[in-house]
Amino acid sequence: MSKKIRVATTSLAGCFGCHMSFLDIDERIVELIEHIEFDRSPLTDIKHCSNPCDIGLIEGGLCNAENVHVLREFRANCKIIIAVGACAINGGVPAMRNHFTLTECLEEAYLNGIGVDNPMIPNDVEIPLLLNKVHPIHEVVHVDYYLPGCPPPADAFMKVLTDLLEGKEPSLPKEILHFD
């Protein structure tokens, strides 16, 4: 039996909807894990890429310094990086804060917002600092493929993974290509 390919996944500034959609492959996961092994991933709870990985599935864009560190770890350890979902591809919902300054956002959320008690902007050495703007991941690392959708349907995950397993260039048939 051929070696399994290693797949790592993460959600950066994402809602985990893409991970949920991936799991909508339901029972097909049984067949899938004959061919792939999950490395670092919320699914395995492995905290860091322990070995070089073949594929990195990245959900979510970049909103803070930690996201950048994680993304860079994935880029360094994964042969192929796939930007999964609207947020990873164009910033998505978190990027809606880009029309305002970071200060405006934090002040609204933590100081001036309705119902805020004990107003203060959270500040601790363990809290990653926010980037002044949210960015898609391809603005910081080279991305190999894109899987659009919000979330991409389970079939889209299957198609791309199957293509890669078969050594083919991933392609999405029109029925499962959508941005919403």
């Binding site: 164009n90 998505g92 919902v93 809606m96 391809h138 999405l172 941005f179 919403d180």
Partner: protein, 247 residues
């Protein structure tokens, strides 16, 4: 003298007739040949701004929506090069504005989105501009969401040529160009637009929307779930779906 067989142009090797006064786009649409377009709408004066309809005529780049057809033109439309150009132009439109499909009421009925699907666009490719653009929700029935505006000026032309009004215009220069309305306050509510004006329904994207209507058609039954943007004679369908519907 009748429209003789000598009045033909050739598009991707296929010879088609044209009538005097037609543009290449007119002739192509009449022959059910799809040349991608966003700012073009039969019935309104051709504009030539989106540049999706770029073709090569006798080796030279041209906008098929504005270039008159003349006998003997050899036109390339469906080449790898031009498809790549069109995909890039579509990406440029996406990254220029704030085109967030998941939260846009036009998703599934949006020509820009459908164009992207047609061209196999998976991502915006270029760094996003994230411009700050003003929404105008002043009117009781119509919203202007400029985040999504692609400056196609269809609303400008529809208002002037069909509604006999002059509600819209494009102002400013370069990347600051923006949709404006003809009212001292600059607000849509202070114009003479009516909700049944063509201008209120012609927007190919989600920039001009009718209030209290959104997500009425289930995923799977929206215009571009059922049709490709490249289908012939799609315009009536697209307009119809965009209007108030009580399906």
């Amino acid at each position: 003298m009748s429209d003789s067989n000598h009045n033909t142009i050739t598009i991707d090797g296929r010879e088609i007739p044209f009538k005097a006064g037609q543009t290449i786009m007119d002739a192509a649409l009449d022959a059910d040949i799809y040349i991608p377009h966003l700012c073009h709408m039969p019935g309104l004066k051709p504009h030539g701004s989106c540049k999706l309809c770029t073709v090569e005529v006798n080796g030279r780049s041209a906008s098929s929506c504005t270039l008159p057809a003349t006998a003997g033109q050899q036109i390339t439309s469906n080449s790898e090069d031009l498809t790549e150009v069109r995909k890039t132009i579509t990406q440029m439109l996406f990254i220029e504005g704030n085109h967030f499909c998941p939260s846009c009421e036009k998703t599934g009925d949006c020509t820009l989105q459908a164009m992207a699907y047609h061209l196999d666009m998976l991502d915006g490719h270029f760094p996003q501009f994230y411009p700050r653009r003003e929404i105008d929700a002043s009117h009781k029935s119509i919203v202007l969401d400029r985040d999504r505006c692609i400056l196609c000026a269809l609303c400008v032309r529809a208002s002037r040529e069909v509604d006999n009004k002059n509600v819209f215009d494009i102002g400013g220069r370069g990347t600051d160009a923006k949709l404006i309305v003809n009212a001292p306050s600059g607000k849509l509510a202070d114009t003479n637009i009516k909700v049944d004006d063509l201008a209120a329904h012609i927007c190919p994207v989600g920039a001009i929307m009718i209030k209290e209507h959104g997500y009425e058609v289930p995923i799977g039954r929206r215009t571009f779930d059922l049709h490709s943007v490249a289908e012939p004679r799609l315009e009536p369908v697209a307009l119809h779906k965009g209007k108030l519907t009580d399906e």
